[in-house]
């Protein structure tokens, strides 16, 4: 049983570019959440997708957008990259409703130069 998988593992971009990160949830899970972890900090919630819709959103600008596909996989898109977007981006999957355990992928480390 595959866990949560993310791609790519590492990514280097320059300011102003756009980036797409991908996540496949754990088998049987239908909910995907994205988190940003800056160096030395705990992860911060970006948004959550359920039934192909954004269900919850954290305090992130509209440059951060996402999508969930019918197979429950998800993408995180960041436009007009800033140096401050450099971070580890983590995807978590869970089943259905609130209060359920979330499982995390290994993350994508994004560096913006």
């Amino acid at each position: 049983d595959a866990g949560v998988t993310q791609s790519p593992t590492h990514l280097i971009k320059t300011r102003g570019q756009q980036v797409t990160l991908r996540c496949s949830p754990k088998s049987g899970h239908d909910t995907v959440s994205w988190y940003q972890q800056a160096l030395g900090q705990g992860p911060q919630f970006i948004f959550q997708y359920y039934e192909e819709e954004e269900r919850q959103r954290g305090n992130f600008p509209d440059r951060f957008s996402g999508h969930q596909f019918p197979n429950y996989s998800s993408e995180l898109n960041v436009n007009a990259l800033l140096l401050g977007d450099s971070a580890l981006y983590l995807c978590a999957s869970s089943l259905g409703g609130f209060g359920n355990i979330q499982y995390f992928g290994a993350g994508t480390r994004l560096s913006v130069l």
Partner: protein, 113 residues
């Protein structure tokens, strides 16, 4: 939003020692999870424990929901226990926060041989 405070921020132990990590939170919760983040960034699930006590080998955890704290115990520590330990909670009762995990700043544990 809910506040999550972890203590101590740093902990240095010799192999074989025992330790207790604490997580205080400011509101009632649906979900509380303890994670170990390895050097490559992956968040490893240790416990899903919104209330009660659980044990898994040398690790155990207790959450006292009515008093809004959780404790993670590590016994007979090993060098492989080194890393950052995070507590994360999902608050109850408010639509805008359901399903999202709020993380503490973590405890950096270093175990020396």
């Amino acid at each position: 939003g809910i506040q999550v405070e972890q203590s101590p921020p740093d902990l240095i132990l010799q192999e074989g020692a025992n330790s207790t990590l604490r997580c205080n939170f400011s509101d009632s919760v649906n979900n509380l999870q303890w994670f170990h983040q390895n050097p490559w960034g992956q968040l490893i699930n240790l416990f899903y424990i919104p209330s009660g006590t659980k044990q898994n080998g040398r690790l155990s955890a207790t959450t006292v929901a009515t008093e809004r704290y959780s404790l993670l115990y590590i016994s007979s520590s090993q060098t492989t226990d080194s890393g950052v330990y995070f507590c994360a909670v999902e608050p109850t009762g408010r639509g805008s926060t359901l399903g999202r995990l709020y993380f503490g700043r973590g405890t950096q544990l270093t175990v020396w041989p």
